[in-house]
Symmetry: C2
Amino acid sequence: GAVWSEPRSGMPGPCRRTPVPGVLGFWGGVGGVGITQPSLELKQSRLKVRFCTNESQKSRQELVGLLRRQGFDISEGEVTAPAPATSLILKERGLRPHLLVHDGVRSEFGQIDTSNPNCVVIADAGEGFSYQNMNKAFRVLMELEKPVLISLGKGRYYKETSGLMLDVGAYMKALEYACGIEAEVVGKPSPEYFQSALKEMGVEAHEQAIMIGDDIVGDVGGAQRCGMRALQVRTGKFRPSDEQHPEVKADGYVDNLAEAVDLLLQHATK
Amino acid sequence: GAVWSEPRSGMPGPCRRTPVPGVLGFWGGVGGVGITQPSLELKQSRLKVRFCTNESQKSRQELVGLLRRQGFDISEGEVTAPAPATSLILKERGLRPHLLVHDGVRSEFGQIDTSNPNCVVIADAGEGFSYQNMNKAFRVLMELEKPVLISLGKGRYYKETSGLMLDVGAYMKALEYACGIEAEVVGKPSPEYFQSALKEMGVEAHEQAIMIGDDIVGDVGGAQRCGMRALQVRTGKFRPSDEQHPEVKADGYVDNLAEAVDLLLQHATK
């Protein structure tokens, strides 16, 4: 565990576009613990690991590529992301989406019939959130007898090097208000989303699973509402005021992901 | 009054961009009645008339020009519109706006200091609602200690020949959600807005003023909440289901504006 307790340089600011430990959510099971890291101890620990993210601009393939280049040993099968989760939901319910999504994530919907749409799927479309594209999505909804709007997360905003950027949640609210409907959210902190990830891992929320994340509401609060324990890492989105959050109390705090891995491995080997 | 009871051709569909009697709100005072029309009877009746609109893409000058070309005898001083009303509010409160508005209405803010903004004003900006412009407005708000967002109306959508268009209310909701704030709405059905128009006319809501409009909630309900009586015209936005609206009951219905004028003149001359 010594490797992990060393302070690591290049730890993230609150920038969602660079997938780094402190910013995205990690969780796993078997004995209650797990983390995805290129650590021999982890590999030998038999812990199940899952990378649970709200990233909706990138495909799993792109995401895994980025993480691997940063040294995380992870495969596409270990990723729970809103786009593939939505793709499954669409198939199950026979929904044909009008997609208002970023080009980077369009491949996740490659197998989905998008002709004659009977629902709208929005994700963080970035520049794609033009007035014209918003009107298109709005008109599709207004032509449906029972409008179905699926939103990949409901983030308010995030930070890029150029400044704060509106996230999908803001545009979800715009369409909800205009249509007088409520969107279905696929992503943290939706309980269904956590549960789909737990199911894919084959672990139970209680006792078996622990969430590690930097977002006190989305990661920690969301996981706890599903019966999981949750650690908050003091990196990324973490703010000192989170430790006195009026509604959410983490089961523990760690200074960085390395410390979390140490803690989990100690616990797992007991 | 005979002139007015004739069915008139060219009455409006639900298209806000063509300012026509059934679509915009009209109201006046003195004895409780008034309407703006190029009618000799009206001119001789001494009724005060005011044109109370939520139009936020056009200046009063442009609006009056359009109405005059349609035969309505109206001057800029008889118009209550969100942009000049907002301009007054900004002056009174020493606010310097970042403007996210349509170019057509920018002239109404010509006298306002927009340097170093301490609030954001949004109106129906149409194509101006780009992701880039929304982010700009959002960043201005997030940099303020107490973010002030003023929205010129809170309409959900309107109809143009090319189809349904999202209105300012949807984008207001997006910024409200992203910033965790509530906007101040300048426009119908805000009570402050009706009251500012009443004040400009120098009439009292009770007994003296009557609203005539096609929007059951925005015109009729809004005016009634301010103590006015309100007629709904069965044109424009009117839908037969409005007469069984669960929350708002008009004080009367007329088939068109002509009938409303007849009714008011009969009442006024008693």
